[in-house]
Amino acid sequence: MKKELTRQQYLDLYYYMRLNRAVEDTMVKLFRQNKIVGGLYSSLGQEAISVGTAYALEKKDWLAPMIRNIGALLVKGVPPRDVFMQHMAKYDSPTKGKDGTSHFGDLEKLHIVSPISMLGDLIPVMTGVAMAGRYLGQNIVTMTWIGDGGSSTGVFHEGLNFAATQKAPFVLILENNLWAYSTPVKRQVPLENLADRAKAYGISSYIVDGNDVVAVYSTAREAVERARAGEGPILIEAKSFRRLGHAQHDPAEYVPKEMRAYWEGRDPIALYEKFLMGERLLDTKGKKDVDEKIETLLAAEREFAENSPMPPPEFAETGVYCTGDECHKIRPKWERPISEVTPPKSSVKPVWTVEGFGSGKSAASTAIHFGDTKAALETETSDTDATTKTNGSKRAAKSPAKNSAKAGAASRATRKVKR
């Protein structure tokens, strides 16, 4: 671990990793007490990735966590009670009991997009947020995470390719924890380094030790800055290990004992504590302070969560649609002049320019894909009351672009219909 951060940054990283683990430890207890109604997924041993990457973002940036990124949510400002209540399906939880785990978001304040269980879907979504942010002049970066398993989904590739073609300010963290449920990474992807996926899209990538929080943070910081500067999307492969099963129900006996022991010896929090102590950034008293701070915080957060009621049954029927304006408060936050994206400034020559060969323009065409040949049009006009049988559609189709849509192109009725 290199020394390159401020003291406060070092201590922040430590605090959030500890908080991440403590929140999950608390949830294991809640799970064993049957207070968590669904599944519980662990990021034990992967805290450095969630914390180190999210810590590289600015407040205005957007993130979308995956199931093992509670740490990223905590860094972004989500209170632990929200995480507890989500898992306990409580009415005061962000989704009010409609979904569990880390499946919640906050568009307006924290800029968090909720994940869904279908892996990879967030990649084009966060690409879209990044494109919108750029369009609005916000200079934001978006970030999401994917696992070694999720990198095999179709939408991973569609999304990353689209992000690359758009040069979207987007950072993708590929958390390689070596196991997709029970299947080892070697059986999923015939690559030594999943970062090599980036080559297919012509984008930059990094490989980082996912158990070294300082390395994770420094790498993410650099990637975020490059993405923000307009270099396009960047992929970071963080190599780590999933210490527990896919979820609480899974003892993961398919993982060789020796492998687990190896990675337990590389616990990211223990490694970091050793580093901080060695650098005199943390001492026994400092550690105890953090212990107490987290214990006090989580006791209160847990109490609040446990006291929250279950949602009333009929609540199930509400909120499928956003009706009225109260439920849609997101307004485009312009940070560039709107005149740049509206006519006349927005107007361009609609041509493709090919280097060395000049430009090609698409002709305004009468033919459209399938079933609209000139002959077809003439057949149609023959049984109507139209007086003029010239090709009216050509003129009609051309007019608005030139004269605004309100321009009254001459009527050439083929078949009139009542409204």
Partner: protein
């Protein structure tokens, strides 16, 4: 209201004007899809938009339907109002997961409305073959959280597309490609919208109700004209929106005519006719003098050869025959 100063335009032009005017009105409106920019769309529905609004607002994408829908959803989260074009609506199923799991559930689960429009050319009758003729609307009508529009006239297409862009929910907008340049109609010179979720009575009658939408609405009207010559006055309802379904207009008409025939180009099993039959059984059983009948496409893929496709599709003769049979009850 389109009165003296309205103009006659094609169905296609109505859609183009709606996009054009919405982009003109609101800089948060952007368009993305395959070949929508320089080429102006495979059907020329976006012709002229790139020229006027530029590369940042009219975005040619890779052939990646999930990425198109996903990115549009992300844009909507940041305050934009994207229109995502599916070059042919058949390809919407490539983005099925993104639409049904991500886009549709966001508001219900975590208060994240996705004001976005997903639109594209649908339907058969143009010899597009099994992968360019689909009517996949019912996959999405079965998905809470979406709105599904399928208009039949230029006036409705324009007004409903504008309403869709301004709606705070994800809206699927099906454009029957057979209508694109075959159907013309009047649209007003001024800005207007047509409310989503409201059917309309295209033709009044007292002997039976024919419920239809999109291209089959025109087929139904043609059949109704022929029926009138035999003294059977059919009331023809154009659903316009399939989700949410306008039960009130349906019930009102059927309570008057006591007979109901549903005509759709979608295949029979799982089509909207089944849903309407259930609604009538639940809410108007005592008003029915005969069985609910349906004229639909066959339960097969859309075949390519003209004689096969014609056999597959409903037509005015089939509607006429079914209506006559129903009128006998």
């Amino acid at each position: 209201m389109a009165e003296a100063n309205g103009t006659q335009i094609t169905f296609l032009e109505a859609i183009r004007q709606a996009m054009f005017e919405e982009m003109e009105r609101d800089p948060a409106v952007v368009l993305l899809g395959e070949d929508v920019g320089v080429y102006g769309g495979a059907f020329k529905t976006s012709e002229g938009l790139l020229e006027r609004f530029g590369w940042e607002r009219v975005i040619d994408t890779p052939i990646s339907e999930s990425a198109i829908i996903g990115a549009a959803c992300g844009m909507s989260y940041a305050g934009l109002r994207p229109i995502a074009e599916l070059q042919f609506i058949d390809f919407i199923v490539c983005a099925f997961n993104q639409i049904t799991n991500f886009v549709a559930k966001g508001h219900y689960l975590w208060n994240a409305p996705a004001p976005m429009v997903m639109r594209g050319p649908s339907g058969g009758g143009v010899h597009g073959g099994p992968f360019h003729s689909a009517n996949p609307e019912m996959y999405f009508v079965h998905t809470p959280g979406l709105k599904v529009i399928y208009p039949s006239t230029p006036y409705d297409a324009k007004g409903l597309l504008k309403a869709a862009v301004r709606d705070n929910n994800p809206v699927l907008f099906f454009e029957h490609k057979f209508l694109y340049r075959r159907i013309r109609g009047e649209v007003p010179a001024e800005d207007y919208t047509v409310p989503i979720g409201k059917a309309t009575v295209r033709r009044e009658g007292q002997h039976l109700t024919i419920i239809s939408y999109a291209a089959m609405m025109h087929t139904s009207l043609e059949a109704a004209d022929a029926l009138a010559k035999e003294g059977i006055e059919a009331e023809v309802i154009d659903l316009r929106t399939l989700l949410p379904l306008d039960e009130e207009t349906i019930l009102q008409s059927v309570r008057k005519t006591n007979r109901c025939l549903v005509v759709h180009e979608d295949t029979k099993t799982g089509g909207i006719a089944g849903e309407i039959a259930a609604i009538l059984c639940e809410k108007a059983f005592g008003d029915l003098d005969g069985p609910l009948m349906r004229v639909t496409a066959l339960d097969t893929p859309v075949p390519y050869a003209p004689p096969l496709e014609e056999y597959f599709l409903p037509n005015a003769k089939k509607v006429f025959d079914a209506a006559k049979e129903l009128a006998r009850y």
